[in-house]
């Protein structure tokens, strides 16, 4: 039976809670209500109020409490109702959690789940992709799965990890994609990118929901005789530069794609890493397709203009191919 991206996250959480009594959930409206997106629907009934903690509207307290509980040996999974609200917990994440191990050797094995991304007409405060605020914070791990398989495998790895992990789940994928998952137990390692489609003419490097945009674009390019390789980063921190550079060495042309805005986006770091490591393999400029440097607008024509799509990727890829 095919499993949605949302159901995959749910299964991962459920299995880890069954496996380890120290895993618990904390967040807003996650218990009786089952979560704004219903990811934790039925958890309260099964695991009880001790392990599914409904809180006041207090993102800083949710993450802070998760940190404190993790010091005592628990493995909290905190939910930000929308990734946009994670800014309320910024200090707890970047100053308390991220620096704890380095400063005084205290591990912070927490997971912060954050439904991110646009395409659902959520407007400026329910559509953001805030991952790069955290990718430049040493001590954190940041994952952003694109498939149901990876979403389940990565949430399980995140819960078992002994460092703080931010889990950006793309809310636009929740019910849009599905696939058959293995019946048995599996995890997906944090810090490993994956070649999602093999090609020889150029590399499209991306993550999150944009994987599907890249794969669409690759199909269209294939029809035109352009063979695109697609690399799904899966983890943004620590970044798997090896897999990225191996793909660039193979194709010699690179298109970097993300839904996040342009300046200071992941594409900038990737471009720098590629030129540092495999500059001599490049046969063209490194090209970026990203959202523009604006807030995420609400009205459909404006949001469509904001979001990268397959047509924008195909156009840039054609240009790069001919370069």
């Amino acid at each position: 039976m095919s499993t949605t991206y949302l159901e995959a996250i749910r299964q991962g959480l459920w299995e880890e809670m069954e496996r380890d009594p120290n895993v618990f959930l904390i967040g807003e409206d996650i218990g009786v209500y089952g979560g704004a997106f219903k990811v934790t629907d039925g958890f309260y009934e099964h695991f009880g109020e001790k392990r599914v903690v409904d809180t006041p509207i207090s993102e800083a307290a949710i993450v802070g409490a998760a940190i404190g509980a993790s010091y005592m040996g628990l493995r909290p999974v905190a939910e930000m109702q929308f990734a946009d609200f994670i800014s309320c917990a910024f200090d707890q994440i970047v100053n308390f959690a991220a620096k704890s191990r380095y400063r005084w050797g205290a591990a912070v094995p927490i997971v912060v789940r954050a439904p991110s991304g646009g395409g659902i007409h959520g407007g400026p405060f329910h559509s953001q992709s805030p991952e790069m605020w955290f990718v430049r914070t040493p001590g954190l791990k940041v994952v952003a799965p694109a498939t149901a398989y990876d979403a389940k495998g990565l949430i399980k790895s995140a819960i078992r990890d002994n460092d703080p992990v931010l889990f950006f789940e793309h809310k636009g994928l929740y019910r849009r994609i599905k696939e058959d998952l293995p019946a048995g137990e599996y995890t997906v390692p944090i810090g490993k990118a994956k070649v999602a489609r093999h090609g020889k003419d150029l590399s499209i490097i991306t993550y999150g929901a944009m994987l599907w945009t890249a794969l669409d674009a690759a199909e269209q390019l294939e029809a035109e005789g352009i063979s695109a390789e697609v690399v799904d980063l899966r983890t943004l921190l620590p970044l798997d530069r090896e897999t990225v550079c191996a793909s660039v060495k193979k194709t010699s042309k690179t298109l970097l794609l993300h839904e996040d805005t342009r300046t200071g986006g992941m594409a900038g770091e990737l471009a720098a890493s590629i030129t540092e490591s495999v500059f001599e393999y490049l046969d063209g400029p490194i090209v970026r397709v990203t959202a523009p440097d604006t807030p995420v607008p609400y009205s459909p024509p404006l949001e469509d203009a904001f979001l990268p799509n397959a047509a924008k990727v195909v156009e840039k890829a054609r240009w790069l191919y001919r370069y």
């Binding site: 903690v53 006041p56 802070g64 404190g68 005592m72 628990l74 100053n95 191990r101 400063r103 005084w104």
Partner: protein, 359 residues
């Protein structure tokens, strides 16, 4: 009418002292029962005097000697005049209780068994510092000792302490979290979020406010419109008590009451300890913004001098015994300084270690 109602003008649920005495411009709970037996009273007083004196001597060396000698390259933030609060409260904690002290609560570390030499090495950025040179001054903790490190934005500790308390309850332990903060921290959102969450979830936390009247240069009157930090407790349905923070036995006894309430599963309890910062915000701050009369007034309430006077008048100690203890403390700190100075600086090759597990 209890003093809390006088302060805020409307009634609320609170446990407040009914017997008060005037100290400075504040009304405070009178020192209540100390242990009844004479021998126990004397022993407790000796213990309190030792830790307060050790903290004072450590901080005098840090601020007035090592810092001026250039041996401490970073900031120095001491708790001179506030020693009674961390001493009186931490002496009530069980080893399983989790402490969240601030940078002005050194006695909590000493009571938990952090060696004085390692604290000095920490200040000096040496490898034997508690954080091995990774962080400065009192930014240090040790989970084996159930003591958690602050971050500079101090109020952030409040939700973290609530989370530790949540875990203690989750794990079925009878222990509590004990979290200190200054009055300035109570202006931050994290403080209010943490207080609220702890109260809603009835978490076992004792909140201890070192109200030393100044947050850097900002006086109480510009920090909050209410007269007392304790007035904020009832807004969260947290019982609050105002304590003479310069009377170590009063702090000790108030902490006992707080712990009794919290350990019984009633939720958090707030102690506001009125005190005064007998120094600048840090070693580089001459505190010219503090009216000299306030220093004069509060120097008469010095917690160490007050305890010594009480010990001699109550017959708990002879003056010679106290002098001998102070001499022993000075010798202990001499040895700690020697230890810290002998400790090497960390190897720069280790700079990138330990950001993640196994790295």
């Amino acid at each position: 009418m209890p003093p809390s109602e006088r302060a805020s003008g409307f009634p609320f649920r609170a446990i407040l002292p009914t017997e008060t005495q005037s100290v400075g411009k504040f009304r405070m709970s009178a020192t209540q029962a100390v242990p009844t037996g004479r021998r126990e009273e004397a022993a407790l007083a000796h213990k309190c005097l030792y830790y307060m004196s050790l903290m004072r001597e450590m901080e005098d060396r840090i601020e007035r000697k090592l810092y001026r000698q250039g041996k401490i390259v970073g900031g120095v933030y001491v708790g001179r005049g506030q020693e009674a609060i961390s001493t009186g409260a931490a002496l009530q904690a069980d080893p399983g209780d989790v402490l969240f002290p601030t940078h002005r609560d050194m006695a909590a570390y000493l009571i938990r068994g952090v060696p004085a030499g390692r604290i000095l090495a920490q200040y000096m950025g040496r490898v034997d510092g508690v954080t091995h040179g990774r962080d400065a001054n009192m930014h240090m903790g040790d989970l084996r000792l159930n003591i958690v490190a602050i971050i500079s934005a101090l109020a952030a500790t409040v939700p973290v302490a609530a989370g530790a308390a949540l875990a203690l309850k989750y794990l079925g332990r009878k222990n509590v979290a004990m979290c200190w903060f200054g009055e300035g921290s109570t202006s931050l959102g994290h403080w209010h979020e943490g207080m609220n969450l702890a109260s809603v979830q009835k978490l076992p936390v004792v909140w201890i406010c070192n109200n030393n009247q100044y947050a850097y240069s900002t006086p109480m009157s510009q920090q909050m419109a209410c007269a007392n930090v304790a007035d904020r407790g009832p807004a969260y349905s947290i019982p609050a008590e105002i304590v003479d923070g310069n009377d170590v036995l009063a702090v000790h006894e108030a902490t006992r009451r707080a712990l009794e309430y919290v350990r019984a599963g009633n939720g958090p309890y707030l102690l506001e300890c009125k005190t005064f910062r007998m120094t600048g915000h840090s070693a580089h701050d001459a505190a010219h913004y503090v009216p000299p009369s306030l220093f004069d007034e509060w120097s008469k309430l010095d917690p160490i001098a007050r305890l010594e006077a009480r010990m001699t008048t109550q017959g708990w100690a002879e003056r010679e015994e106290i002098d001998a203890m102070q001499a022993a403390v000075r010798k202990e700190v001499d040895e700690a300084v020697a230890f810290a100075e002998a400790s090497p600086f960390p190897d720069p090759a280790t700079q990138t270690d330990g950001v993640y597990e196994g790295q």
